[in-house]
Symmetry: D2
Subunit: 366 residues, 4 copies
Amino acid sequence: MSNVYGNNIKLKIFGGSHDKIIGMTLDGFPAGVSISSECLQAFMNRRAPGNNAWSTKRKEPDVPEFISGVEVKNQDGKIVYYTNGDTVNAVIRNTNQHSSDYSSLVSIPRPSHADFAARMKFGKSVDLRGGGKYSGRLTAPLCIAGALCLAYLEARGITVGAHIFQIGNVRDKGYDPISVDADTLIRISALEFPVIDADTQAEMKERIEDARKALDSVGGIVECAVVGLPAGIGDHPFDGLEGRISSIVFSIPAVKAIEFGDGFAVAERCGSQNNDAYVIDGERVITSTNRAGGIIGGMSSGMPLIFRAAIKPTPSISSPQDSVDLDSMQNVKLLIKGRHDPCIVPRAVPVFEAAAALAIVDALLD
Amino acid sequence: MSNVYGNNIKLKIFGGSHDKIIGMTLDGFPAGVSISSECLQAFMNRRAPGNNAWSTKRKEPDVPEFISGVEVKNQDGKIVYYTNGDTVNAVIRNTNQHSSDYSSLVSIPRPSHADFAARMKFGKSVDLRGGGKYSGRLTAPLCIAGALCLAYLEARGITVGAHIFQIGNVRDKGYDPISVDADTLIRISALEFPVIDADTQAEMKERIEDARKALDSVGGIVECAVVGLPAGIGDHPFDGLEGRISSIVFSIPAVKAIEFGDGFAVAERCGSQNNDAYVIDGERVITSTNRAGGIIGGMSSGMPLIFRAAIKPTPSISSPQDSVDLDSMQNVKLLIKGRHDPCIVPRAVPVFEAAAALAIVDALLD
Amino acid sequence: MSNVYGNNIKLKIFGGSHDKIIGMTLDGFPAGVSISSECLQAFMNRRAPGNNAWSTKRKEPDVPEFISGVEVKNQDGKIVYYTNGDTVNAVIRNTNQHSSDYSSLVSIPRPSHADFAARMKFGKSVDLRGGGKYSGRLTAPLCIAGALCLAYLEARGITVGAHIFQIGNVRDKGYDPISVDADTLIRISALEFPVIDADTQAEMKERIEDARKALDSVGGIVECAVVGLPAGIGDHPFDGLEGRISSIVFSIPAVKAIEFGDGFAVAERCGSQNNDAYVIDGERVITSTNRAGGIIGGMSSGMPLIFRAAIKPTPSISSPQDSVDLDSMQNVKLLIKGRHDPCIVPRAVPVFEAAAALAIVDALLD
Amino acid sequence: MSNVYGNNIKLKIFGGSHDKIIGMTLDGFPAGVSISSECLQAFMNRRAPGNNAWSTKRKEPDVPEFISGVEVKNQDGKIVYYTNGDTVNAVIRNTNQHSSDYSSLVSIPRPSHADFAARMKFGKSVDLRGGGKYSGRLTAPLCIAGALCLAYLEARGITVGAHIFQIGNVRDKGYDPISVDADTLIRISALEFPVIDADTQAEMKERIEDARKALDSVGGIVECAVVGLPAGIGDHPFDGLEGRISSIVFSIPAVKAIEFGDGFAVAERCGSQNNDAYVIDGERVITSTNRAGGIIGGMSSGMPLIFRAAIKPTPSISSPQDSVDLDSMQNVKLLIKGRHDPCIVPRAVPVFEAAAALAIVDALLD
């Protein structure tokens, strides 16, 4: 079965950016997990486009509709969804497509978009409207599945939170690998522009605004943490946490790199500088440092799990670019129209939380 | 089914470092792929321990023995294995175990080894002799599967090659993302100490020797390239090449980070600086830069596929370290005995080639 | 992944008899298969309840609605669905539930219904309204998937057709195992009461009417044939055609037995009486008899594939029956209300065609 | 992944009748299951050829050798295998192949053997020595996996036993569907010629001897029962017990039909004659009849599970038969040499126990 995520849960995403319906099918998800309609929508809105200055002007309400797998209950005037163990099918009806913008992409691929590779794969009949299935829009159904997973984890005392770690050359603080806690993660997530060090916020927004004005875009890094995870989750070799997290994180468009704990920095170190010593901390065993980012041998160590992923600058920029006409095999200049994000990093933050939650739930169900 | 790699091929690894037999089961591998016993052994030897100064003193011949899935033919005095489409089972008989070295690990976990997490997962009965199933020794069966995949790719004009990119703070050149070719990859692979820039070799060996003398260890980075891959291989979202490669690369013990193309560097850029423009090159379409490392939208772009992965310093060091006794819940000092690599980076190089080949073959079989 | 049918296609059924929505998710189904809305509905109507004297009075229009996986095209005023290779999701909205009929089943299980086993499995909270997920109603989504498979097969010259072989002690002729052809299968399928020997029809209907009048029910046998299947489809040992067909046929409620070709009759024979000799027939090789029912070694032989399956009498009968109250653990008399089929065999005929088509398509995609 | 049995366990069989090694790979099997070498061998011997008058003269000791997945312990001089949760690999080394007997099968297919279909599937290069992978010899590795499952079940109070129900037209009694118990199943299994009604034994053996003398063969029926199974095992629709059992039973060569409980007989009945009424039996709920054979809605009912399967007469008979030469496309007479069983039913009895045990274990692990 192709294009499925998970060993225990099985997640499929369907539809394309400019289809009438996009959605997801989630199998193997436990019964009895509940999430209020309100809470789900709030999570969806963090990713939804059109809500602020640094986002595309395409505005989509992104309201999830469940086809199967949940019981809908009315509790004190609030709609609450309870999973019933059956296949969860949920869809989002697209409302705001401008497909005419994308008519020429099959012949003239946009640099650093999936257009060229998709045409090589599927031929001339490939549907690239709005980026087709390669669009970041497909992270919306991923967020529905992720929201269910976050609810599952929350009920078990496990909290996931991400923040903007870097935009362009402006870098936020990282989470403290020893002391980061659920409260911190929840507080940061609630911010409209989630950074740890409030001072970096203005400068980051400025980078985005500069990019927007220059008809350009800018990349960044998201950092994500999971706290409350017991030690021993994940399994070596092919079911390790790094592998499970990275394989879903790379399904988020534009991600080009991932590192756990101190990541690439470990290459320069000696073992004596990199090892995390065990110490007794009351009734628990902790490590006095957490360079491993909470994962050893593919398994959780009981310390905060921390990873960072690099997001390339949105390839849709409004200045003319070199490309080729694949039908006439001529070099051409390409000017991209349509509505785009100058920086997708802020909207990607909840998507990383969703991805991490899916990976952790899948590992917990081993 | 847990701990399996692949959507189309299905790879399992079995056994532990100090079991009599370790091995692998590979399902779904195409019939008709051939590899000579000699060529397979040469590949295994690049990973095998005990062959040089920067390796552990544990010497293992690592001779693969096929139980099923291959026909053995004698061609001009050479043994050649031909896959027959059936499940490939292959084993390696361990010859040189010193299990007595590891008796106390279950109580007193070694810092930055899997011991603690494994005990949390499996309890006191966990088998940690020689690192158990967490040992780098289990990359030997991975290399058998990888060698078959490399043979499959070679017959289709696809070449995989890795080199030592960094040891400690000494950095080799990277592969040229535009011009790297099969000859280069083959030539570098044949080196006993595979680096591009011969000048870095002495310095890297010195770092390793320094670590060895200091009873310490040192980390590094491996860079791997694949050339000859047609455009359009891999599938979005969950079957993308980055996800498939990363999920197997993180099954290699000690890997903490991976980046494709320019990786983390893309975070600082604008789109206009990061996009790879298309240009006509004779009868082909290429990109004039290859910041993407040959992957767009999870699919191959037709350009060289390049990734780098960070390997932490071997956690087994011979100086005393802080740990805890999990039975008495006391802080203790731990002195690790046994035979260890001061730097596993050189021996890991073929393992990365094996991992990349497995991921690429799996994607080609979609 | 549980409750999935298929190695290459992956079929899931969701919902229960008295849910608002029932449906199916079909993965791995090829792109480019087309079926008109009219043709699909005609197939659904053969199974739909409430259309004639021998069916339950619950009337459901059973109109499939596609959520994903098909393009809808308007061709000369007709709606035609084209699969696009994406996950096919389709739902049916239930319109005619009388859930109040089923309130007591959790305590007092109906003999020979799933109630008791389901309660033992899921406990008191099990949902048994209308038979819950055990209801024959769930064969409606199976028929949607089956209709797509039948369209796929039809385009390849493969025809599937079933008929009523037996009701009570009244037996129709069987398909001729040598000469049965597509025209015959299509002609019989088009009958409102599909039998080969028209003379048996009145007698069969009489048995059903007798059962209805006696507030009882009656069982039967369905025979199904597939013609046009090339030799060599299916794979030994676990992917054989008998195994694949039987595993989906037993998902049809009330099926208790299946036989291929001469089935149980082979037990009494000598090899010399049972072997099917090969003979040249023009440019083809056929067998002069077809006792094997078109399957040898799990693979198609190129001869018509024929199987029969026994369907027990509907367990819902209106006379009082012995049962127990599981809460008080007392023997009780049970009188079942609600609307039921005196004989489900006629409505089951297209369900067997759907099941056979699903199995054959899955095998063809190996 | 093709040719795998099981949702939770994953069983693969490899090798062909005349390969040096045949074997099996079993994944997902629980740790901590033990079986003595002696007990395993006794089970294998019930199936092994060459042990008595009604078997082929090919004698194979069929000694299982474990490659992985078990710890071997010496307990009071007995070898005992303990599964360790890892992939179980086990092989049997073939010792007594006469491959020269089978040279012409690729051109001239034996009637009612897999030869023709296999050649259509794989072309001229297909390996049909000794029946290749279609040979009943491959049920030996199935029995290794089955023996482990039987040990797992035994430790949980679940007993599986089969007997010869029919040979030619001679029929044994069936198991009593209400009162059959573990002791009965164990006692019958221990018989060299396992029948319930000892009086039928001589007559059955006579039928076999008649067939042998006439250079012919004879078919039969095996009946298998499982007792001690709690209610509620199995899951509707695609994970039902009938489907799971039938799909593995049809992997046993020569099986053409299967029925559960009263099977085909239910077709003739009214609901009032076929329903199994619930009654209180001490602290348990049982049914006063067990026409369902212990399965309702795909789930166990708590009553004895009973099924019967028809085995066709061995197609290898020594009298001349009509066939065709596929190379010259001429009708020919074929005279089959080699060593064959006049009746495989007695040797098949433990194979049905193995198959049933595999299906039940897989369902218990849901």
